[in-house]
Subunit: 119 residues, 2 copies
DNA sequence: TAAGTATATAATAATATCCTGATGGAGGTG
DNA sequence: CACCTCCATCAGGATATTATTATATACTTA
């Protein structure tokens, strides 16, 4: 009985994972976007996403080249309420609103920055 | 911003600590009672209580020989709501209702069981 | 099919967590 | 004072967590 909830809370017991949930409360995001917004490596982001998925907080779907993650809509009410109240950094919100997915990642190939891909 | 909440959730991310909070949602309890109700050693209980106190979930007060722990009344609303909904094992409820504090611990000295103290 | 991007997994190292047994202090009581 | 109970802390070892780098897999597209 307590075990199930303790596993959920362990999934929430990490600042990076809460950061991810905060971002996803603004809009769905693909992994490469999360990598840009978070101060950790791409494999670290993948592993956090796996834990969030195992805990039942996020789902994934594939679109073009990217794997998108989204908050699940069947969250336990307590968790849903928490995420509604969770503040999101203003810098994240503005990044998410000014970057279209197709622009933020691969489409940069064509930019004059000479960047290839997200990272 | 996320760090503060991740620390709170880490404190909730353990089955024994959730068990303690469930017990304290029924009534205040002293350490020796918790030791009887939980399947771990007395030092383990003390260490869990310290974490719960550091996370701001419980307070302590001394009464006679015993140190009592109680849920704090200024919990973040999300946490308070969670604890209201958290089920408590029926066996714990009945133990807590049939044992008066003074009886459950040291006063057993006088019982015919020959027990001395709680543990 | 070949090349490149996006993502996941493997291997590993540093650190954190959680248990137990041992020890010690605080306070009550004969 | 002497002893006993309650509780906290210390010391340790086993396991879990979280990061990184290196590598593998999957999908797109030319």
């Amino acid at each position: 009985m307590y075990q199930e909830w303790s596993e959920r809370f362990r999934a929430l017991g990490d600042g990076t994972r809460l950061h991810i949930l905060g971002i996803l409360s603004v809009r769905d995001a693909c992994v490469c976007e999360l990598v840009e917004l978070l101060p950790v490596s791409q494999p670290a982001v993948s592993q956090h996403l796996r834990k969030l998925k195992q805990a039942g907080f996020v789902r994934e779907y594939r679109q073009k080249s990217w794997v998108f993650y989204a908050l699940r809509t069947d969250l336990p009410p307590v968790i849903a309420a928490f995420l509604r109240d969770l503040p999101v950094a203003e810098s994240d919100v503005s990044w998410l609103s000014t970057h279209e997915v197709a622009v933020s990642c691969a489409a940069r190939d064509a930019s004059e920055l000479g960047l290839r891909g997200c990272y």
